[in-house]
């Protein structure tokens, strides 16, 4: 079997289109995710924030907002990747596999689709956080918001790839709970959403530095607040960008590889 398969633009587009249509119809999922983020921002950002004040000249709500956007991105993208379990279970995968298109095209479409829908989610959350007063309106913020959208696409692509890799390895829904407890939540908690890495004890700092989502949140913080952690310094945004991009390459590769080996 040839390892390199031709990519088909039409096939990539159609898989992406399917993801968008399904996302658009699953309004309950979108609403619950947005509502969950609002709870976090309201209870922690406004409630706890009144007590903490803020970090490094940024008030707590503003500090948390990029992390909460990151949460939406993380959960949305991993689950969208993992949804190939459902495609397999409900048979739709066979319809794609028997078509004259390469496995790689299918998976690239899936990843682009998942990244797009998760980013749409992220944009909604960004708007919600803005309305709640997390960001100071300025021309720089406008430019930052556009940069953030690019960052979101970059962040989510890697996590959809991770989801696809997991979905290609696992075979049943029951693993969902495990996935959520042992993969998603740790990645979310360690992403620096609630506190800056600078104030954490060393073991926690190491754990946080191993979390790819940490760099994603860091990147968003640079885009929306124009500042980052002290630990990574003034070039923090560049380091984060590099890690996120590296994670993308790794996960998209792994997802594609594991998917092409997966069973019907």
């Amino acid at each position: 079997m040839k390892m390199v398969q031709p990519l088909s633009g039409q096939a990539i587009y159609v898989v992406l289109l399917r993801e968008l249509k399904r996302y658009w119809r699953a309004k309950a999922r979108v609403i619950s995710s947005v509502a969950q983020s609002i709870f976090f921002l309201a209870v922690f950002g406004l409630g706890l924030g009144g007590f903490i004040g803020g970090f490094g000249g940024v008030n707590y709500l503003s500090y948390m907002a990029p992390g909460i956007i990151g949460m939406g991105l993380l959960f949305g993208s991993v689950f969208s990747g993992v949804s190939i379990i459902f495609d397999r279970q409900f048979g739709f995968m066979k319809e794609m596999l028997v078509a004259p298109v390469s496995r790689t095209s299918i998976i690239i479409g899936k990843i682009l689709g998942g990244a797009t829908t998760a980013t749409i989610q992220g944009i909604i959350l960004m708007a919600v956080a803005g309305i709640m007063g997390a960001f100071t309106p300025s021309l720089a913020l406008l430019a930052g918001a556009f940069a953030a959208v690019g960052a979101m696409l970059l962040i989510t692509a890697g996590f959809v790839g991770l989801g696809v890799a997991i979905g290609s390895t696992l075979n049943d829904f029951h693993a969902f709970q495990l996935l959520s407890t042992f993969v998603m939540w740790p990645m979310f908690m360690l992403s620096g959403v609630f506190f800056p890495i600078d104030v954490a004890p060393l073991p926690l700092q190491v754990a946080m530095l191993c979390d790819p989502m940490f760099y994603g949140v860091e990147l968003l913080r640079w885009c929306l607040l124009g500042t980052g952690t002290e630990l990574l310094g003034s070039l923090g945004w560049l380091i984060s960008l590099a890690v996120v991009a590296g994670f993308d390459v790794l996960m998209v590769g792994l997802g594609t590889y594991l998917f092409s080996r997966s069973q019907i």
Binding site: R22, K94, E95, V98, A99, V101, I264
Partner: protein, 409 residues
């Protein structure tokens, strides 16, 4: 001039792990525009063969050409030439019927105009035009099946694979799907391979039938020729007491005009069906019957115990579905005799039974059906899952392994 072979299969073989041969060196040709039926019990190798022909599975050895393209070297050209309607539904139920078709058209690279035109035409053909914009999750089983068949045709394949197209559908829907398949075949001249374990379906639709068992072709011929192989008539005897079968059988074996004797469980005729229904309500009295039967296997003994237990627990309750199923599995046994000039033999058989003191419940005379053919070439009733316990284990092993196979790139 002879017709073109659209499908040529040469010594196709699939060996799963641990030397399980799911498909064992089969060769056959299918002519353009023909409907060929794969008939065989579960685990016979039908779906595995289709998966190899559709390039989803790589054969262990042997090959095939479809529409002139080799399945090993030109998988993309093969995929363009075929439509495959899988056994389990492969529709996206969160999309509408039209979107499912549109998605398929795009995957196969059809441009917008062509998609719209063909989708309109096919929706009409399978009579789903008014439901086209509803989500597929609101469709009935028959509608989903029709939509899938339409989808399989959208890219104008030369060959259509239908894997158990009417499995689990009610008789009326089944009939309408048959008509659709026939119409497609005639109007579009599509070559069709369908797998089924309904003999009536194969008989009604197929020009030729390939009976496959344990991965090997047992026989390949037209339905009429197959039935003509069994010369004579079939006489089915049903007994008041199933234990009488073993008593009566030796008496029949000495008669030269009887060509073949088969003991049929879960019978395929009207009498046994009606008897099953009658017997069901009184089953709690007859629990010990199973134990008297000489050909019990572990499964029926298991369900027998279950029945005893459940009848103890709720003896005053009306009979449950579970016990009805038990009746289906073990109770009605009849003898099928293949004889010459059947009408003349009935008095003789009745006389024999009288002399032996065996009470006949009914006697039925009929022409051989494909069920009888299947029975005679494989030694088993097609819907009878049991056979020997060993056979059953072997089949399940094959099916389990067939399901977990890695697909081709």
């Amino acid at each position: 001039m002879s017709k073109v072979n659209t499908i040529e299969v040469k010594a196709l073989t699939k060996v799963f792990d641990k030397d399980v041969k799911a498909v064992d060196g089969i060769s056959f040709n299918v002519e353009e525009g023909e409907i060929l039926g794969f008939l065989g019990p579960n685990g016979a190798g039908k779906t595995t063969t289709l998966n190899m022909l559709s390039t989803l599975l790589r054969p262990t050895s042997g090959t095939a050409t479809i529409n002139g393209h080799d399945i090993l070297t030109e998988p993309d050209a093969v995929r363009r030439s075929i439509g495959y309607v899988f056994q389990d539904t492969t529709l996206d139920i969160d999309l509408t019927g039209r979107e499912n078709l549109d998605f398929h058209g795009r995957l196969y690279g059809l441009d917008r105009n062509m998609r719209q035109q063909r989708i309109k035409e096919l929706l009409g053909l399978v009579q789903l035009t008014d439901r086209a914009d509803d989500l597929v999750k609101t469709y009935s089983g028959g509608m989903k099946r029709r939509l899938e068949i339409a989808r399989g045709l959208l890219h104008h394949p030369k060959v259509l694979f239908l894997d158990e197209p009417t499995l689990g559908l009610d008789p009326q829907t089944r009939r309408s799907i048959w008509e659709h398949i026939q119409r497609l075949n005639q109007e579009k001249n599509v070559t069709i391979i369908l797998t089924t374990h309904y003999t009536e379906e194969a008989d009604y639709l197929c020009k030729r039938i390939l009976i496959i068992d344990f991965g090997k072709i047992v026989v390949l011929d037209t339905p009429d020729n197959l039935k003509a192989r069994l010369k004579g008539d079939v006489i089915s005897l049903l007994f008041k007491n199933p234990a009488a079968i073993e008593k009566f059988r030796p008496l029949l074996e000495s008669k030269s005009w009887i060509h073949r004797i088969n003991v049929v469980t879960s019978g395929n005729n009207y009498i046994t069906m009606s008897r099953m229904i009658q017997t069901a309500p009184t089953m709690s009295d007859n629990v010990d019957m199973g134990g008297n039967m000489p050909e019990m296997d572990s499964r029926t003994i298991g369900s027998n115990k279950k029945l005893q237990k459940s009848s103890k627990q709720k003896s005053k309750q009306p009979v449950t579905d579970e016990s009805r199923q038990f009746v289906d599995e073990t109770c009605p046994k009849c003898l099928n005799l293949l004889v010459d000039k059947g009408g003349h033999r009935i008095p003789e058989i009745v006389k024999l039974a009288d002399e032996a003191g065996v009470i006949l419940e009914s006697v039925e005379l009929r022409k051989p059906t494909l069920d009888d053919v299947f029975l005679s070439v494989t030694g088993r009733n097609i819907r009878e899952e049991k056979g020997s316990v060993l056979d059953m284990v072997r089949r399940h092993r094959i099916m389990r392994q067939a399901r977990g196979q890695r697909v081709r790139g």
